[in-house]
């Protein structure tokens, strides 16, 4: 063919392909495809299987318990793995793999007795066969803890295990060092026999049972990991010990977990699969929810988008599906305690008091959050969220009185009406944080008309670099925003790990030796009643006396569940235990027109 006609041939072909495409699409107009997920699993017909359809908000960076740090990964890991302890709906530590545990008199040696009927399982996604790899033993716990601590594993969260004897030395050792194996052996975790594991700690830690509920302490399948160190947590290789296991993971696209028939309580697990695409847009997920393509707007995907909240609350159906529950996180503004004028506690108190938290929640965040007056939220052991004698002055019913008090404090500090104050409020780049900052800036402008508060924002990683305690003060803002969520529900994870003057998280650069002594004593104390009192004192020092930070609100989980999710058990710590949930399958099918 003469070459110059080729381009027209190509155009004609392209047009033809599009026409064919159009023809293919046409029948779609009468057959809504809503019920079909993008990628079906190879298992039994989906409509015969009781499935929880959801979305995953991001690709989980890993499903390896030693390496997970983000909520997506941890949510999935907690469906597939169990540890020695767990947490119930009230965030209390409960038995899981361990049936009981005890501490030596000096509180340094903790012994856990494990059940022997939980087995490791591997699913072959091609054949659908579940392979029983034998019982989970104390040796798997020992291996798991040591693997997490091994510097070659390079676990980001290994440091939470530093309370275990020898853990820090091993984790920070040079892998080429001659005594490396000795350091590994010296880590204070030991399987006494198949069902007994013993931990030796560096200090008595009353909160230790919470630590053994963390994913980084979970037993890990040595054989599977050593056979495939980098890829063992992928579908087909992964070996798990919980109610679900991984059947399919199309990276970046789709995840499917299926019920583990070998799980000890499998007979009581009604939902046979949890599956969904990875959708990074909350609005798209919301559209899928409204089209009945997914059953919930909750972890592991998205809460309902903030701009939709008014509509959801006004809608007779959606409002019935809205579910709000407490969450172990606090949103707060920190003051850099070393930067004038915020080196003066009275200035900090004044700024903390001049925030109308209720108005902020009602008009802006709209998630029925609870105004905060302490660092740790309700649900964390040792919290004082219900004790208005601490920080009650920042959440008074009569905001006018609170405001007058704030103005009085600032005048007393030598800045009447804020004269002479010129400070920066910084937040990380986000629409929601910007809106909150603007609202609080306006509140401060009204309270202290002569003060100047400038808002700045920085990209997240840059922001954190600006705030770390050892960064130069001149580059820091006077006021910053942050949130803190529980790794484990104990005040040690809050007041001690964040605001101890030696902590790397102490962005406020709060330094009060009395406070340090109290939180360190509480960490060593094993009597719960004494610990409770010590943490109350710590909060009093942090909030009432020194006002190192200004708590704004305790977070809530804001979620939407379809009415056919008949039994939803929410756990504020562990990610939600789907194995305990139930679906009215007929109702779901009916709603989807099946």
């Amino acid at each position: 063919m003469y070459p110059r006609y080729r381009i027209w041939l190509w155009f004609s072909l392209l047009a033809l392909v599009t026409l064919v495409a159009g023809a293919c699409v046409a029948p779609q107009t009468t057959a809504p495809p809503a019920e079909a997920p993008a990628q079906e699993a190879p298992a039994a017909p989906a409509d015969e299987e009781i499935v929880l359809d959801t979305v995953f908000g991001t690709e989980p960076p890993t499903l390896d318990p030693a390496l997970a740090t983000d909520s997506q990964s941890i949510w999935s890991i907690r469906q597939m793995f169990v540890g020695l302890t767990g947490f119930d709906e009230q965030a209390q530590v409960v038995p899981s793999l361990a049936t009981e545990w005890s501490a030596s008199e000096d509180g340094l040696v903790w012994t856990y007795t494990m059940r022997d009927d939980v087995h490791w399982v591997r699913l072959n996604p091609d054949t659908g066969e579940f392979e029983d790899l034998g019982p989970v033993t104390a040796h798997d716990v020992e291996y798991g803890v040591k693997r997490t601590l091994d510097p070659n594993t390079a676990s980001d969260y290994a440091y939470v295990l530093y309370i275990i004897q020898g853990a820090e030395e091993f984790n920070t050792a040079d892998p080429n060092a001659e005594n490396f194996e000795e350091l590994r052996d010296a880590v204070g975790v030991r399987a006494i026999d198949d069902t007994t594991v013993e931990f030796t700690l560096t200090a008595p830690a009353g909160y230790f049972p919470s630590i053994t509920g963390l994913w980084v302490t979970f037993p890990q399948p040595q054989e599977a990991i050593e056979a495939n160190p980098d890829g063992w947590a992928d579908a087909g290789s992964i070996v798990t010990n919980g109610p679900y296991t991984l059947a399919q993971w199309d990276h970046g696209a789709y995840i499917r977990l299926v019920k583990n028939p070998l799980w000890v309580d499998a007979d009581n697990v009604q939902i046979e699969a949890i599956q969904g695409p990875i959708i990074e847009s909350a609005s798209t997920a919301m559209a899928m929810y409204e089209a009945n393509e997914i059953d919930m707007m909750a972890d592991p995907g998205w809460p309902p988008p903030l701009p939709d909240m008014d509509r959801i609350k006004a809608d007779p159906e959606l409002s019935q599906q809205l579910f709000i529950a407490p969450r172990l996180c606090t949103y707060y503004y920190g003051f850099v305690n070393t930067k004038p004028p915020f080196d003066n506690p009275l200035v900090r108190k004044a700024f903390a008091a001049a925030i109308d938290r209720k108005s902020l929640i009602n008009n802006l965040t709209k998630g029925e959050e609870r105004p905060a007056h302490s660092f740790a939220p309700p649900g964390v052991f040792g919290n004082v969220a219900d004790d208005m004698s601490i920080g009650g002055w920042m959440v008074q019913d009569d905001y006018a009185a609170q405001l007058a008090q704030a103005q009085e404090w600032l005048a007393e500090a030598g800045y009447p009406e804020g004269a002479g104050i010129n400070v920066t409020l910084m937040h990380n780049t986000s629409e929601a944080h910007a809106q909150i900052a603007q609202a609080i800036q306006a509140m401060w402008a009204e309270a202290f008309p002569q003060a100047t508060v400038t808002i700045e924002n920085q990209e997240w990683q840059v922001y954190l670099k600006t705030l770390v305690p050892d960064a130069p003060d001149e580059e820091k803002p006077e006021i910053y925003r942050l949130g803190w969520c529980a790794d484990y529900p104990d005040q040690n994870n809050w007041v001690n790990e964040v605001f101890n003057s030696k902590s790397g998280q102490n962005y406020a650069k709060y330094n009060n030796p009395e406070f340090d002594a109290v939180v360190e004593q509480a960490a060593r104390e094993s009597d719960p009643a004494v610990r409770q009192e010590l943490y109350k004192e710590a909060e009093r020092l942090l909030i009432d006396q020194d006002t190192a930070i200004s708590p704004i609100y305790y977070y809530t989980y804001v979620r939407l569940y379809k009415p056919w999710l008949t039994k939803v058990v929410i756990s504020p710590v562990t990610g939600d235990p789907v194995a305990e949930w139930e679906i009215d399958w007929e109702a779901k099918k009916a709603a989807r027109g099946q």
């Binding site: 779609q28 993008a38 390496l67 070659n152 695409p277 959708i279 954190l464 790397g504």
Partner: protein, 354 residues
């Protein structure tokens, strides 16, 4: 012509190298590293050091680049031979821990944030899907854009011209961020014709990128293709119209008409072909931009393409991922530009390169 192509390919090597190094260095200059924080929690220095050692972030920049480009073994080999070279002490301590085989051997490295995954895997999975969406959108854009632009030019200042210009401007002015959700709202939620999101095909693909074009594929592909293709078709229509208007006033068109050629022959064979040169010029870079950068459309429709890696890898400071996707993008751009140049010569015989 062949000499020209070979010369262009050889020239593209230093360009790609320089670009790779620039991205490589720039990412490391931005404050904040991939392992400084887990979420919002600062990690102890020892933990960060463990992680950095594994990825050679404790090496001097040039040695990091050598390892990225040539592999750990080559960096180690050089340093073992000449341990006095500055920075070799760090290399000799930990090159055996590393995993880089080197870009030159086709290894784009290991992701720092997606544990245990290689950039080759990540790109290999997401790129074909972006390519599918890109090809469909470009196809739609050409099919709408060129005829619409041609009609507008031939019927200049008539209702046809005004209407097509109106639609072109609408198409250009509505961003994907608005059009995407609007299409979802109308066609997925209200009319229930199409699924809300996700992509209807997954690997393995024919020839690495051609999906099975079944009903499910088209159901999922229609809305994102329209969302992405509309704005492109508007640009192409505007450009075709402007270019054709210029060409049909040229002397040789007048000559062709004077010779008594039929109007459609004049337009199609003589005018349109030449007026497509500027269109083709933007087509190469536009195609690559669509294929690799349709982040917004992929985001809105939950499509597991490559666009998101450009954005998320920067926020995560996933150095190898951002460098890897940039190298892939740059290579495609170089190839696309080469193809465009070759197409020029074919479209206009006066353009010759050798």
């Amino acid at each position: 012509m062949y000499r020209y192509i070979i010369r262009r390919i050889i020239w593209s090597i230093p360009v790609l190298l320089l670009l790779t190094f620039t991205v490589f260095a720039l990412m490391r200059i931005i404050p904040g590293g991939p392992f400084d924080f887990a979420g919002d929690k600062a990690l102890p220095r020892a933990v960060t050091e463990n992680l950095e050692r594994r990825h050679h972030l404790d090496w001097p920049l040039l040695w990091q680049f050598t390892s990225y480009l040539l592999g750990d073994d080559v960096a180690g080999f050089i340093c073992e031979g000449m341990p006095v070279i500055p920075g070799c002490d760090a290399v000799l301590q930990s090159y055996q821990l590393g995993v880089s085989r080197g870009l030159i051997r086709g290894d784009l490295g290991i992701s720092m944030r997606q544990r245990g995954r290689s950039i080759n895997e990540i790109v290999g999975e997401s790129f074909p899907i972006s390519l599918q969406l890109g090809i469909l959108s470009m196809g739609l854009a050409l099919i709408i854009g060129i005829p619409l632009g041609t009609l507008a030019a031939l019927r200049q200042n008539t209702w046809l011209d005004y209407t097509s210009s109106f639609f072109a401007i609408i198409g250009l002015s509505i961003p994907n961020l608005v059009l995407g959700p609007l299409l979802i709202w109308i066609f997925a939620l209200k009319l229930n014709w199409f699924p809300v999101s996700t992509w209807g095909a997954k690997p393995p693909f024919l020839l690495g990128f051609i999906p099975i074009p079944d009903l499910k594929f088209w159901a999922h592909a229609t809305l994102p293709t329209i969302a992405l293709g509309t704005a492109l078709s508007a640009s192409i229509a505007r450009l075709t119209r402007a270019s054709l208007l210029q060409v049909i006033r040229e002397d040789y068109i007048r000559t062709a008409r004077a010779k008594g050629l039929a109007e459609n022959v004049v337009v199609v064979r003589h005018a349109l072909k030449n007026s497509l040169i500027p269109v083709v010029t933007i087509l190469g870079p536009l195609t690559i931009a669509v294929v690799t950068g349709s982040f917004v459309t992929e985001f809105i429709f939950g499509i597991p393409g490559m666009g998101k890696h450009f954005i998320t890898s920067i926020g995560n400071r996933d150095y190898p991922l951002i460098t890897g996707v940039t190298v892939v993008y740059a290579t495609l751009l170089v190839v696309a530009n080469l193809v465009v140049d070759i197409l020029y010569a074919w479209l206009d015989p006066r353009i010759r390169y050798d």
